[in-house]
């Protein structure tokens, strides 16, 4: 066994009594460590953690916003579609109504036209008849007078008398015809 001279069995240090130089050095060193880590490193870690949380929650929020927008658009499209359907139905109804109206118009016009044509025919017939009746009356009168004068042999030259006789005859005819 060899004891170093410096140690020589003497115990100059008490391990439970701190060396004040070491307290000073340790405190300064630890203060530097605390300053750097607590100022430049760990707050940034907290920020990064927060940013990570934000990134995840932000993603969820963005997705929710997109979903809401999509839903809103869908609602809008549905509303537009329903509106378009209503419009189409209305247009169809209108067209149907219009067609009905036009049909009624055309029918009325046709009926009116036919009525008019019939009326015109009737009028023409009546006018024709009146003309024929008038001509017949003159002719029948003349023929009758001629026949009568031939039969009777006397000329009924006297206008006034002849006229009166014919008229009386014809009236007799008409009254029998009317009966």
């Amino acid at each position: 066994m060899y004891f170093l001279a410096a140690e020589g069995g003497e115990s100059t240090h008490n391990p439970i009594i701190p060396l004040w130089q070491e307290i000073v050095v340790g405190s300064v060193a630890f203060a530097v460590l605390c300053f750097v880590l607590m100022k430049f490193v760990f707050p940034r870690m907290e920020q990064t953690f927060q940013a990570r949380v934000d990134a995840i929650e932000g993603g969820i929020k963005r997705a929710e916003a997109a979903q809401a927008e999509a839903n809103q658009l869908l609602e809008q499209y549905r509303a537009q579609l329903a509106e378009a359907r209503t419009d189409a139905a209305k247009i169809r109804d209108d067209a149907r109504a219009d067609a009905e109206g036009i049909r009624q118009d055309i029918l009325a016009k046709a009926r009116e036209e036919s009525d008019r044509v019939i009326q015109a025919g009737k009028d023409a017939l009546a006018a024709e008849r009146a003309t024929i009746v008038r001509e017949l009356r003159t002719e029948v009168g003349t023929i009758a007078v001629d026949l009568a004068s031939k039969i009777v042999g006397e000329s009924l030259a006297d206008e006034a008398r002849r006229k009166g006789t014919v008229d009386r005859f014809l009236s007799g005819l008409e009254s029998t015809g009317a009966r």
């Binding site: 066994m1 060899y2 004891f3 170093l4 410096a6 140690e7 003497e10 115990s11 100059t12 240090h13 008490n14 391990p15 439970i16 009594i17 701190p18 060396l19 004040w20 130089q21 070491e22 307290i23 050095v25 340790g26 405190s27 060193a29 630890f30 530097v32 460590l33 605390c34 750097v36 880590l37 607590m38 430049f40 490193v41 760990f42 707050p43 940034r44 870690m45 907290e46 920020q47 990064t48 953690f49 940013a51 990570r52 990134a55």
Partner: protein, 265 residues
């Protein structure tokens, strides 16, 4: 730093190891025994501080939403202390203490780890000065937080007067005073210090013991090999203690802060 290894190689190491083995000659001025400003111990503290600063600044220089491997590692350390210590112990209000707790945890863990890292092989925390000032910071922190939250009178009332029948209070108040305001910083500091001190002492005993056995009688070489195997086994144990003590120190600090913040006793 290499002095000890040379001593071991030369077979000049003293056995049994003494407290003096924890107080290595200073580096600047070289070899002085009464200068403590720049020793292996303080150099290791600065190295720990430097390594932690460089590691965290380098990994967190340009943080991404989708982390790289290094960034993920740095975030895991912070996330572990933040969620498993600060938030678990204190609740949501604990988040604002997470940066300090993480700094504390990393510092204690790395300085502890020097106990088993080759060429360092002694933890600064085996000198009570370092656990002591960390414990003082914790002590000041939890008292400050408590007073700030509740006010001076209410804080001490909360801390000292437990909800108990009046006739038991004369017994309880001195106990509470003693345990909360006197023992806490000492227990915190001594727990860490003693663990690291004892761990280093154990490793010294088995390592130096192997050499001592070998130099006393060459026939006892197998026993010194056994002694060194024990050293390796104890190094694993030491690794466990290193992590555990860093965790315990941080958890206890968080627990004290939680107690100071609590509404009732």
């Amino acid at each position: 730093m290499f002095g000890q290894a040379n001593v071991l190689a030369a077979g000049q190491a003293a056995f049994p190891p003494t407290v003096e083995d924890f107080y290595l000659p200073s580096i600047l001025p070289w070899g002085a025994h009464d200068s403590y400003w720049f020793t292996k111990i303080t150099a290791m503290v600065w190295i720990a501080v430097g390594v932690l600063i460089i590691f965290f600044l380098a990994t967190y220089r340009n943080p991404q939403l989708v982390p790289t491997k290094k960034q993920w590692f740095a975030e895991s350390i912070y996330g572990f202390v933040r969620n498993n210590i600060a938030v678990d112990m204190i609740g949501h209000a604990g988040v604002r203490f997470a940066p300090y707790f993480t700094t504390l945890f990393c510092f204690v863990l790395l300085t502890n780890a020097f106990a088993i890292i080759p060429l360092f092989q002694i933890s600064p925390n085996s000198h009570i000065a370092f656990p002591a000032f960390l414990a003082i910071i914790s002590y000041v922190l939890f008292n400050y937080i408590g007073i700030k939250k509740h006010g001076f009178v209410k804080y001490f009332k909360n801390s000292l007067i437990p909800p108990a029948p009046w006739y038991i209070l004369p017994l309880l108040i001195p106990i509470e005073l003693f345990s909360t305001f006197i023992v806490r910083p000492f227990s915190l500091a001594v727990r860490l210090f003693a663990n690291m001190f004892a761990g280093h002492m154990l490793l010294l005993v088995f390592t130096l013991g192997g050499f001592a056995i070998l130099s006393s009688n060459a026939w006892l070489a197998p026993i010194s090999v056994l002694s060194w195997v024990m050293t390796i086994a104890l190094t694993f144990l030491e690794f466990l203690v290193i992590c555990l003590q860093a965790y315990v120190f941080t958890v206890l600090t968080a627990s004290y802060v939680q107690g100071a913040l609590a509404e009732e006793h």
